[in-house]
């Protein structure tokens, strides 16, 4: 029974809970059991919620009392540790925040609770969301469920791995330069970065304020859409939150699953991203998806985005600059790690605490950002990078004048091995070459599984990008392609992932 429950989509699980076939406590217990079984290997969670069953029990009680509950009430949810929670520590993957308990909930967490979702725990991430592999977590790396020796992507490797390993039906993530979409790509899951301002950032521990967006992580497009419906919409606590009335993303995904939306759809492919820039199996999978779309009535159109190549450089100026300021609050005065310096001044204590509390990648970026903002360099670095944003936005505007969505591979390669790139930051940074321009322009992007790379049998994702505020279009198109691919595969891609935990031990014996 519980093995079946964990493999259900969030939508299906919600139906079973709503119909009374399954209780929230059963669903929650099944996932807690799964976590106990496999998370020793995967390490997707930094913290498991001791109150999860209480919350589930409360939902079951309220349902039994006849209370009108949300569509997803009773379904478990994993939460990236970048989001602050009152009942669980929030560390953003950093030692400097070890044990930190927020006195308030992030807006998205509060909305998830209000919708009756059951917080299962907090998921692992690169420290302060800086990274593409989750190897920069102060609490040790997360392992890719497809191959435990490989990275699960980053920074939200924990959320993606939790979902791919059936430890949670879906999860919350955050995406500053690809932290939702690139992990989705390497774990065979779905990840959506909404339009900037579409989802509140209040309570998301800031990395780069003008790039950060919270979004859903799931195994199906519909599940991401359902979660997006819960967490999205205007929040007066976030000045950059859009006051738009959003359509139902779940309705868009359901409409997309009928497949009819592909007829006449114009899909842009970027000329300046030649196949040669990608691992062979990645571009092959990408081309196969395009062919499938074309076969079902879509038109593939080449578009030009000449400034994409400057995206990574602009990103690695804007992000460190904003991060150097956002992370200044971790100074050992009000919260977080304090390392005393005998006889030292408060300045000494701050500097020492930050030395001990921050990892290498964080220090690297803080120093880089401090430098990029310092007197005499602002115009050449931060100022110029902000101009590149304008140019990239113009590229998108021009492209979207002729196409409905743009498609790219979600990342250049499949999951690489743990440790392979950790000492080569520049190589690591290039992982996000296709996802970064989306954040710079503030437009929405989704990654859905497109198949496995021939050469290594590892998952590959395809990214769709839409104009700002057209998030629903991505759910429509994503669900349409997902339906076609799952038909073609004869079942979800994750059915082909290796067994984990006790099931794996049965086959392979214990390590």
């Amino acid at each position: 029974m519980s093995a079946d429950l964990i493999r259900l989509s969030a939508a299906d699980l919600a139906d079973k809970i709503a119909s009374g076939e399954v209780s929230s406590v059963e669903a929650t217990q099944a996932h807690l059991d799964r976590i106990a079984d496999v998370d020793g290997d995967v390490h997707a969670f930094l913290h498991v919620n001791a109150q999860a069953l209480d919350a589930a029990q409360d939902i079951d009680r309220r349902r039994a009392a006849g209370e009108e509950l949300g569509e997803l009430a009773g379904v478990p949810l994993a939460i990236k540790d970048v989001l602050v929670t009152t009942d669980m520590p929030s560390t953003s993957g950093s030692k400097i925040l070890e044990g930190f308990l927020s006195p308030y909930d992030a807006t998205v967490v509060a909305r998830a609770r209000a919708a009756g979702l059951i917080p299962l725990g907090k998921t692992n991430m690169d420290e302060f969301a800086m990274g593409s592999s989750t190897e920069h977590s102060a609490y040790g790396p997360t392992h890719n469920p497809w191959d435990l020796d490989r990275i699960p992507g980053g920074s939200g490797g924990g959320s993606a791995a939790a979902v791919a390993a059936f430890e949670a039906p879906f999860a919350l993530g955050s995406d500053t330069g690809g932290s939702i979409r690139q992990p989705a790509h390497v774990t065979g899951t779905v990840g959506m970065k909404p339009t900037y301002g579409g989802v509140s950032r209040f309570g998301a521990i800031a990395l780069a304020s003008s790039l950060d967006q919270v979004g859903p992580v799931s195994r199906t497009v519909l599940d991401s859409a359902l979660l997006h419906d819960v967490i999205g919409g205007h929040d007066p606590n976030d000045a950059t939150s859009l006051a738009d009335a959003w359509p139902s993303f779940a309705a868009a995904a359901r409409e997309g699953a009928t497949g009819e939306v592909l007829t006449g759809l114009k899909v842009g492919v970027i000329r300046e991203l030649p196949d040669s820039g990608f691992q062979a199996g990645v571009s092959a999978s990408f081309r196969a998806s395009l062919a499938l779309l074309e076969a079902h009535g879509a038109e593939i159109v080449e578009v030009s985005a000449p400034h994409f190549e400057y995206g990574v450089a602009a990103y690695y100026l804007i992000l460190p600059a904003e991060a150097s300021s956002n992370l200044a609050k971790f100074d050992s005065v009000r919260f977080g790690l304090r390392v005393d310096v005998p006889g030292g001044t408060v300045e000494d204590v701050m500097a020492r605490s930050r030395e001990v509390g921050f990892g290498d990648e964080v220090k690297r970026r803080i120093i880089l950002g401090t430098y990029a903002l310092s007197a005499g360099y602002y115009d050449a670095y931060y100022g110029s990078a902000q101009k590149v944003r304008t140019l990239i936005q113009r590229d998108f505007d021009a492209a979207f004048a002729g196409v409905d969505v743009i498609a790219t591979p979600s990342a250049p390669t499949t999951a690489f091995r743990l440790g392979e790139k950790v000492d080569d930051p520049l190589q690591m940074y290039l992982n996000d070459v296709t996802t970064i321009p989306v954040n710079l322009a503030g437009v929405p992007g989704i990654s859905i599984p497109s198949g496995l790379a021939e050469e290594d049998g590892l998952p590959v994702g395809i990214q769709f990008i839409a104009p700002a505020r057209q998030d629903a279009r991505l759910y429509r198109v994503g669900a349409a392609l997902e339906t076609l691919l799952v038909d073609e595969w004869g079942g979800p891609l994750l059915d082909r992932a290796p067994a984990l935990g006790s099931a794996r031990s049965d086959v392979e014996g214990t390590r």
Binding site: L101, T345, I367, Y381, K387, L426, L440, G442
Partner: protein
């Protein structure tokens, strides 16, 4: 230093090596950032986003201090301050 992070010599050496490579790489933004291009500081332009001047939820003093490394008399405690007030 401005970033207020103490670094030992090893760290300085390792980080600066990596940093100079990164800085070289990112300097390319200046190739296209010509004076006629306006800067974009917010991806989705908005303006005049305000909050009504009405008192809302505040933290209790216990919540304010709940993560304090050191506190006394309802206030945060820090060791001696060398620098001047700004």
């Amino acid at each position: 230093m401005l970033a207020r992070i103490q670094l030992d010599d090893d760290e300085v050496e390792r980080l600066t090596g990596q940093l100079s490579a990164i800085v070289d790489n990112i300097a390319k933004v200046s190739e296209v950032a010509t004076p006629d291009v306006p800067a974009t500081s917010h991806p989705i332009p908005l303006e005049n986003v305000f909050r009504p001047d009405v008192v809302g939820q505040m933290l209790t003093t216990a919540q304010v201090l709940q993560n304090a490394p050191d506190a006394t008399d309802d206030r945060f405690k820090v060791t001696a301050i060398l620098g001047e007030e700004q």
